[in-house]
């Protein structure tokens, strides 16, 4: 019996693939594959990667220093001048400003580009802070139970019973206006969500057999928490966190808009809009570009968060 040489070749060449396909699946790898498979997650990821590259390479992309007035360059210009792009028919003897000039004769495009350096990290910082503190509070509440659980969760209820921006405004007023304090305020206000998620995970895992087994083997409470419970709570925390970054960016921008967050002349999207609000009716592009930048970054995080959530939802995996 002679084998068809083609078949034999197909067999050998397919072997590595077969082995690859039978690699033991891990949660993180499955998740990654599912996330990439989600169209919305892919769009979100693309937006975010682009924005991060822009933030990293801002000095190379931006034509001028974001805090530099055109007056210092000895260049004539009008407050809130409209965009001038040579490619689109703007006279060649005029200096090119892709997004026009702001009310202080600064190049709006450079400011929007540099704004990414402030707005993107602050989303991570606030949510990171809230997740760390919230996880600790939630873990203690869930693990200890009893009166401590009750007290901690009632405090979380009180924080939640304020509209978040109003409480954040109150906190920044106490701490003093500034970007760092604004981040701290938004962080504090977002703690309860993560505390609740963590507590719920702890409660659901605490009585599981594998945790009881670890305890019987003499593992300490801290070990149980970090090695057994936390990994199981990570999924909802990541989903909640990714979705939370978008919200945090919106809220920090809002605080900057009312003058409590970022202080001029640093380029930050929310305070740029606040600064040029008075020119709005004559120069709407000064609101549009930073506003669009905020929308785009929030959209990126929301799409990615939605995608991760769908990818991790076993009911949707077919």
């Amino acid at each position: 019996m002679s084998l068809n040489p083609g078949t034999a070749e197909a067999l050998t060449s397919s072997t590595p693939e077969t082995i690859a396909a039978h690699r033991p699946s891990s949660l993180s790898r499955d998740t990654l594959r599912n996330v990439v498979r989600q169209r919305s997650a892919l769009i979100g990821l693309t937006i975010l990667i682009t924005l991060f590259l822009i933030a990293i390479f801002a000095p190379f992309i931006a034509p001028t220093d974001p805090t530099l007035s055109m007056l210092d360059l000895g260049e004539p210009g009008k407050r809130g001048a409209a965009p001038c792009i040579h490619l689109f028919g703007c006279a060649a003897n005029l200096p090119q400003h892709v997004m026009g000039l702001d009310s202080n004769l600064r190049d709006e495009f450079s400011r929007v580009i540099f704004g990414a350096r402030v707005s993107l990290p602050m989303g991570f910082l606030t949510v990171g802070f809230a997740i760390v503190i919230g996880t600790i509070i939630g873990a203690i509440a869930g693990f200890a139970g009893g009166w401590l659980d009750n007290v901690l969760m009632r405090i979380m209820d009180i924080v939640l019973s304020f509209p978040s921006l109003i409480l954040a405004i109150a906190i920044v007023t106490v701490l003093g206006a500034g970007l760092f304090n604004a981040l701290l305020a938004i962080g504090i206000v977002s703690i309860p969500v993560y505390a609740r998620v963590m507590r719920a995970s702890v409660l659901s895992v605490r009585e599981a057999d594998f945790v009881t087994a670890s305890r019987a083997l003499g593992e300490s409470s801290g070990g149980l928490l970090s090695r057994r419970v936390l990994p199981n709570a990570l999924t909802p925390l990541i989903v909640q966190g990714t979705l939370g970054i978008g919200g945090a960016i919106l809220e920090v921008a809002a605080l900057s808009f009312v003058g409590l967050g970022n202080q001029p002349p640093t380029a930050e999207w929310g305070s740029m809009i606040a600064g040029d609000r008075n020119l709005f009716f004559s120069a709407p592009h000064l609101i549009f570009f930073p506003g669009f930048a905020i929308t785009l970054s929030v959209l990126g995080f929301n799409l990615l968060g939605d995608g991760i959530r769908d990818a991790l939802d076993p009911r949707l995996n077919r």
């Binding site: 009180i158 019973s161 304020f162 978040s164 109003i166 109150a170 106490v174 929308t295 929030v298």
Partner: protein, 358 residues
């Protein structure tokens, strides 16, 4: 049902006490002397001593708290440091603006949001569905203040002179005035809570116009509220639309819906009478939860559209260190939020027997 409500009411008491304490502490640790903020250059030590005595700021903190909590129970919020008027009066005058704005935004967000979600779910994966979800995603990601400024630009500048133009600021067009309801009804002699209630309603210009059949006032007040309400309502609208869509899709996949279809019911009746009734449960919760968003949005929108409501008042009093007003506004806002969440919980239990029986 009654047991559920009572239990829920009792559990919100510690939260309410916590709110009052938290606000009291927050307000006291705000840096800056209220006296300097109120008198500026004229804040000499003698003036400030008299000022502190007058507002009880010289007493020890625990005593201040007891006095504050005691008068709060009697509905006395104290007097504003800046305006010298009782905070209750300021609330009576300005809270209606925010209530009106919030209700209109809520109506806009829930009717449009639920409709969009319904259309999206019934035409799943169609271009209409995709378009709606793209708009919902954008809506959720746009800052309230950017949207507000843009609406103002489009409707007050670009469309100026067309029938679609809308006013970008204030509550009424110049020249229009509002007659208090108490005066219309000849009740100027009336005092007490009933009078307060009448004044409160009277300050909601839309309701005032409706009650006095003054349609000029009604339409003008409504026209001034449309842009801010759309700005405040857009983020919740997008959330409601997404929630309605996913919830309805889940419900439509259930066995009882298949049974309803198998019985030969019209698709319309299956979706609306059978599907929506169950799908709306989580939507109700989302609407309740988004109330905080409405109030937060109102702070920003009121500043942009120059509406003197709670948000603008809160902001002004924070800048003027008007402790008493900040205290009053924050407590009232948190209280309203608490009550609405209570109503949402109760209505949820009312709609879903599984909750009240568990």
């Amino acid at each position: 049902m009654i047991r559920f409500i009572v239990r829920r009411l009792l559990s919100s008491i510690p939260v309410l006490i916590g709110i009052v304490i938290l606000v009291f502490i927050l307000v006291r640790v705000i840096p800056g002397e209220p006296c300097t903020a109120a008198f500026g250059e004229k804040a000499t030590p003698t003036v400030c001593a008299a000022f502190s005595t007058r507002y009880g700021l010289d007493k020890p903190l625990p005593e201040q708290f007891v006095i504050y909590a005691g008068s709060l129970v009697q509905g006395d919020f104290g007097s504003s440091i800046r305006y010298g008027r009782p905070v209750a009066d300021i609330l009576l005058e300005r809270l209606p603006v925010t209530v009106e704005l919030t209700i209109l935004a809520l109506l806009f967000a829930s009717t449009v949001g639920i409709t969009l979600g319904l259309i999206s779910a019934t035409r799943r994966n169609s271009p209409v569905d995709a378009g709606t979800m793209v708009i919902a995603n954008l809506g959720v990601s746009t800052p309230v203040f950017v949207l507000g400024l843009f609406l103002a630009f489009v409707f007050a500048v670009l469309l100026k002179g067309t029938p679609l133009s809308l006013p970008p600021s204030g509550r009424l067009s110049p020249g229009l005035s509002v007659v208090p309801l108490a005066q219309v009804w000849g009740l100027t002699g009336l005092t007490g809570p009933l009078r307060s209630l009448i004044d409160f309603v009277s300050n909601m210009y839309v309701i005032n116009g409706l009650l006095t059949l003054n349609f000029g006032l009604l339409t003008d007040a409504l026209r001034h509220l449309i842009l801010p309400a759309v700005a405040v309502g857009t983020i919740p609208l997008a959330i409601i639309a997404r929630m309605t869509r996913s919830s309805l899709l889940e419900v439509l996949g259930l066995d009882y819906v298949r049974t309803a279809r198998a019985k030969g019911l019209k698709e319309r009746s299956v979706v609306i009478r059978h599907g929506m009734r169950n799908a709306l449960l989580p939507v109700v919760t989302v609407i309740g939860l988004s109330l905080g968003g409405f109030l937060s949005g109102a702070v920003l929108t009121e500043t942009i559209f120059n509406l003197t409501g709670m948000g603008k008042t809160l902001f002004e009093s924070i800048q003027g260190r008007d402790y008493i007003v900040i205290q009053g506004v924050t407590v009232v806002v948190a209280f309203i939020y608490l009550v609405v969440n209570l109503i949402v919980d109760v209505s949820y239990a009312f709609l879903d027997p599984r909750i009240r029986l568990s």
